[in-house]
């Protein structure tokens, strides 16, 4: 390695240090339940880094270990080995009073809301403030502003049993934010809500993430949730992180089998059977044709690449299927086309597409 290279590495490291500070860091976390034959490895050597201010999603099937994983972050579950650091503080080492103090800075919301049935909405929101020993005057002010924040000011004296699922989760969110946490853990927070309510809860989460710079870690089995609000995603399968990276990246190039499985439900990248059959029947046998799936992401979606290709290379394009989607404001889509024409021209045309930054897959 010469000196310039060394300098380069050093500046990279420096930048990595300063740029997005790490909020949560898991290092080789292992959690095993039971013993002997009933032994279940819930987490196997899991390492993760969650950056400050991002929305980090963990997706997995039930039993994949995601619930255990999120519970380790506030030590509701204690791993057998590995360390978990939150804003530099080693959570895994904390006990008693120190642990409780650290937990006050970590909000958590749940699939089944877990509100106190004996308390009205405002008392539920006041609950964590009581625990933290906030004085009554300040407490009431805080409760009022939180109720406004989540849009429940008219439900002050309602009991949880009188609320809808979405309203209950709003109370849950207000309660979780009461002590101004730096991190919000969401344990399948939208899994028992209908799609419409899920959207509104996700919007609220995104809103608090932006307004307070809150770091959010959420676990889910719904790819929709990841697609809607997450910046980074980790795919967990049988206690292992099989894939991790920016959400857009995962959608564009899913590497693991587990990720592809999740993707299927959200993106219809398969050619519908009807079109596939029709296309085969309709394609002229005597001419050279190539069926290609073109995936595009980001800015390229706005460019008229296909028509340029048709004009420049004099090929015919039959669009069999097209789909455009948005992953957290980034356009993402795929088109399945049948390109017909001279063999060389088709090859040149496809090369042109690749050069434009599109991902091609010959079918």
């Amino acid at each position: 390695m010469d000196t310039t290279q060394k300098a380069c590495v050093r500046s990279d490291q420096k930048r990595g240090y300063k740029m997005p500070p790490v909020m949560i860091e898991l290092e080789k976390v292992t959690k095993i339940y039971g013993q002997g034959e009933k032994r279940v490895v819930a987490l196997a050597d899991v390492s993760l880094k969650v950056k400050k201010g991002e929305i980090f999603g963990i997706i997995g099937l039930s039993g994949a270990g995601k619930s255990t994983l999120i519970r380790c972050i506030n030590k509701l579950e204690e791993p057998q080995s590995g360390t978990i650091r939150l804003d530099g503080q080693e959570i895994t080492k904390l006990k008693g009073k120190e642990l409780r103090a650290a937990r006050r800075k970590i909000g958590m919301i749940f699939q089944h809301f877990n509100l106190l049935s004996s308390r009205t909405v405002d008392r539920n929101i006041a609950f964590p403030l009581e625990i933290a020993g906030v004085n009554p005057k300040e407490r009431e002010e805080r409760v009022r502003s939180l109720m406004d924040l989540v849009g429940l000011a008219d439900k002050t004296h309602a009991y949880p049993s009188e609320l809808s699922g979405g309203q209950k989760q709003r109370v849950g969110i207000a309660r979780a934010l009461a002590n101004n946490p730096e991190v919000l853990l969401c344990d399948e927070a939208t899994s028992s809500l209908d799609p419409e309510t899920t959207k509104s809860i996700l919007r609220l989460l995104q809103d608090v993430n932006r307004r307070f710079g809150l770091t959010i870690v959420l676990i889910t089995h719904q790819m929709e949730v990841i697609k809607e609000i997450c910046d980074t995603v980790a795919v967990i399968d049988e206690g292992r992180i099989v894939e991790e990276g920016p959400v857009v990246e995962l959608f564009a190039h899913p590497r693991s089998l587990a990720a592809r499985r999740f993707m299927k439900g959200v993106l219809h990248t398969e050619i519908p059977r009807e079109t596939r059959e029709r296309a085969v029947l309709g394609s002229p046998q005597e001419r050279w044709g190539q069926r290609v799936r073109i995936s595009f992401i980001g800015e390229v979606a706005g460019k008229p690449i296909i028509s340029s290709m048709i004009r420049q290379y004099n090929v015919d394009v039959n669009i069999l299927y097209a789909n455009l989607d948005f992953i957290k404001n980034t356009p993402f889509g795929s088109i399945i086309v049948e390109v017909t024409g001279d063999k060389d021209k088709i090859e040149a045309a496809l090369a042109f597409l690749t050069a434009q930054g599109l991902k091609l897959e010959v079918l």
């Binding site: 509701l76 958590m108 877990n114 106190l116 625990i131 049993s161």
Partner: protein, 214 residues
Amino acid sequence: MIWSLIVKATVETGYMVGVALVLSALVGIPLGILLVITAPRHIKPLPLLHRVLSVVINVGRSLPFIILLVAIIPFTRWLVGTSIGTAGAIVPLTISAIPFMARVVESALLEIDWGVIEAAQAMGGSTRQIIAKVLIPEAVPGLVLGVTMVAVSLISYSAMAGAVGGGGLGDLAIRYGYQRFRGDIMFWTVLVLVVIVQGLQSFGGWLAAKLNHR
């Protein structure tokens, strides 16, 4: 004459049951809470203490009241100076109701959704805070029903206490109704007992429903 007897006996029963209920609640409720929270995987796991408490409570629950009553006579005499009369009856009544109360509290606390307790833990609640702000308030409807149940069985136990001269409605029914062949007194005593138990149960049920926001 018959009415003054019945009124006097009813007051005695009310006194015995009332005092025994309050005393057994004072001991039994904390005991029940301790039993629950020390269980494995609860908020303050202390397996050994949990096992000991459970065994002690079971022993208390398995003693027939009439046996307990005579078995602890020396203790009763030492504690209140007499083993007969209402004061003498309160001691065994209380002692037999304590383990019952503890089990009743246990089942009321185990009714609470674990997620709610976990949420309080996640907020950084201490054991004390979780007991005071989650376990007890959330279990109130169940506790009311449980205490009602204990009160009803205390009434029936108090009738047995009558056998050792404890006074009260049971005593009246045995001494006048049975031993003196006074069918009318027997009838009225039984009727009063039925009305009291019925009223107590209805009140308990009503109160529990009113306090239940689940």
